[in-house]
Symmetry: C2
Subunit: 392 residues, 2 copies
Amino acid sequence: MSRIAPPLNPPVRILMGPGPSDIHPRVLAAMAKGTVGHLDPYYLQIMDGLQEMLRGLFRTKNPMTFAVSATGSAGMEAAVVNLVEPADSMLVCVNGVFGARMADVAVRAGAEVMQVARPWGEVFTPDDLQDALAKAKPKVVGIVMAETSTGAWQPLEEISQLVRDSGAMLLVDAVTSLGGVPVEVDEWGIDAIYSGSQKCLSCPPGLAPVSFSPRAVEAVMNRKRKVQSWYLDITMLANYWGTDRVYHHTAPINMSYALYEALRLVHEEGLEACFARHMLNHRALRAGLAALGIEYAAQEGHQLPMLNAVRIPAGVNDAKARKALLERFGIEIGGGLGDFKGKVWRIGLMGHASRATNVLVFLAALESLLAEQGHKFDHGASIAAANEVYAK
Amino acid sequence: MSRIAPPLNPPVRILMGPGPSDIHPRVLAAMAKGTVGHLDPYYLQIMDGLQEMLRGLFRTKNPMTFAVSATGSAGMEAAVVNLVEPADSMLVCVNGVFGARMADVAVRAGAEVMQVARPWGEVFTPDDLQDALAKAKPKVVGIVMAETSTGAWQPLEEISQLVRDSGAMLLVDAVTSLGGVPVEVDEWGIDAIYSGSQKCLSCPPGLAPVSFSPRAVEAVMNRKRKVQSWYLDITMLANYWGTDRVYHHTAPINMSYALYEALRLVHEEGLEACFARHMLNHRALRAGLAALGIEYAAQEGHQLPMLNAVRIPAGVNDAKARKALLERFGIEIGGGLGDFKGKVWRIGLMGHASRATNVLVFLAALESLLAEQGHKFDHGASIAAANEVYAK
């Protein structure tokens, strides 16, 4: 007895949550192009193009720059399990869900994990790490650049210098930041970094861009034990993504097409213009939200432009409001995770979702819902405030 | 400086290698549908449909049946790293590349791995396992049902009984077999099984269907240590794919659409009809190849219908012939791996690629190339032989 599920007919959504974000139409079209084999000469060109465009985006010359054939969380795992061996010491900075996840991944890899913590929404200063670095003398320091659970934007320039001075390798989570704000792998001396396709790259989830410094690759090549994950082992992946093209696993061809087209879009726009667009739409949204009396959850001066985590106004029903946004307006925003559950909304302005039409329609829809729930505010003020930002 | 790779413009291919195979046009169209969020009520319906259709295909009632968010090799890793803990004993049957890979994955997971081996192209009988089972008393026995490197079709009925009688859990690689020949998870008592989207399901690579028996899930839930892979840990994935829908990672939405449509196609055709189609086209190809004097690499009576591994005729240049097939006819077939490199071609008739037009165009193209390379045969005989099979 066959059981056939109903025809595929997804509703049209405006994706303003923590990811996936709105997909660019050219990226969707790219996904549907004819599949070729994973060792086809044409696919090898696609791999070359992906690597070259990813290096441009990560601002690195690292040869070992590629896309892991899985989602961003697997990118995290790839970075961690290659760099640490059992009994290695790793220091992880935890100020949200994704720092905590990194610590969990490191423990599973057998690392001796030491954590430094900051309250959710805050960022780390070099001072926060000094003692722990001196005490743990870690082989690896892990930190999240854009904490998707809190919207906090972690500065890395000074911390990366401190970590390098200590002799440790720096491992960075750039899942939400890559493509939305500057990520300077070489200038900041980052040894391992990972991201996801579904945030600021306007591409569906399914691939994890990563980059490893030559120093990190050398450390992996000189491990005492094999990398615990066969799938994520960069000593083998180097032969597939390198010039040898030795078969490892069957690459996700059509997802690669999507990321390829997404990266073409970013480079066509130009990195600076792309970052400026993310910042402008963030400023417009923030002005609009301020007019509604809505405040940000992350520390002042360290708020991510692409992930706006804001306090749910008092008296407003979280689940009801998000359900109405989705069902009546087709707009998805994210709820809070962990400590922020029921207290915070996460409004994404990532990639193709970072545009004025999204900001304005979201504010208008939100006004409508807040009015229904009895929230008091000056009607139309949020739109006016956002438009004022755009007018400048 | 932005570096923009050339526009995406893949050549049209007929994919008759070891995978990816030809993608059904409905599957390509499904991939390009609008992305929704991974916790969108609509996506939860897609997950339900995927699970239900996968259970139908695996012929199982296992609740823990889902698609790993990565390719088939990650499915292998998911099966192994969940079932074995450090110092657990695992017996792996090795008669090709993928059995050897499974042993490697198990060693990396800390298992005490014992191997039983058969020559490439041969299959295992229960007798081959008796001694090893008695000696190693393994917790898990791993075996490949369809060895993609040799084209050997491993019978599982008797071996599964033997493994169960020994008290071990049975772990099966069904990457190439699922959707092409019967896979009876419940009837054969399989505890963990994995496959890939890009073989007999007419879907691009990127997802790994898996299923775990209740007995296997219980064993995982009672592990002494956490699963070494956070990404593949089914104790957490159970909460995402189960009724709780607890966020784990961001699922690859559009790849899920593709697999969903691919599974609808399989169930629309019906499993029996689908298996019969794979067998018919295999018989036609085999008859055609025989007319050219080309022999199978796998043991007589154990040749996979969807993966035809054949000996390259004496005097024929492997690389030159495959290059000409690809460049002049757009036909991809696979070369040999490992021991079979330069000696074997792997001709896939998987999923949408398993159709008479592919068989006939391939034989006609092959005749053309063999004639050029001076191979002696009766011209047109391969087509006639194949058509004779179809005419019956």
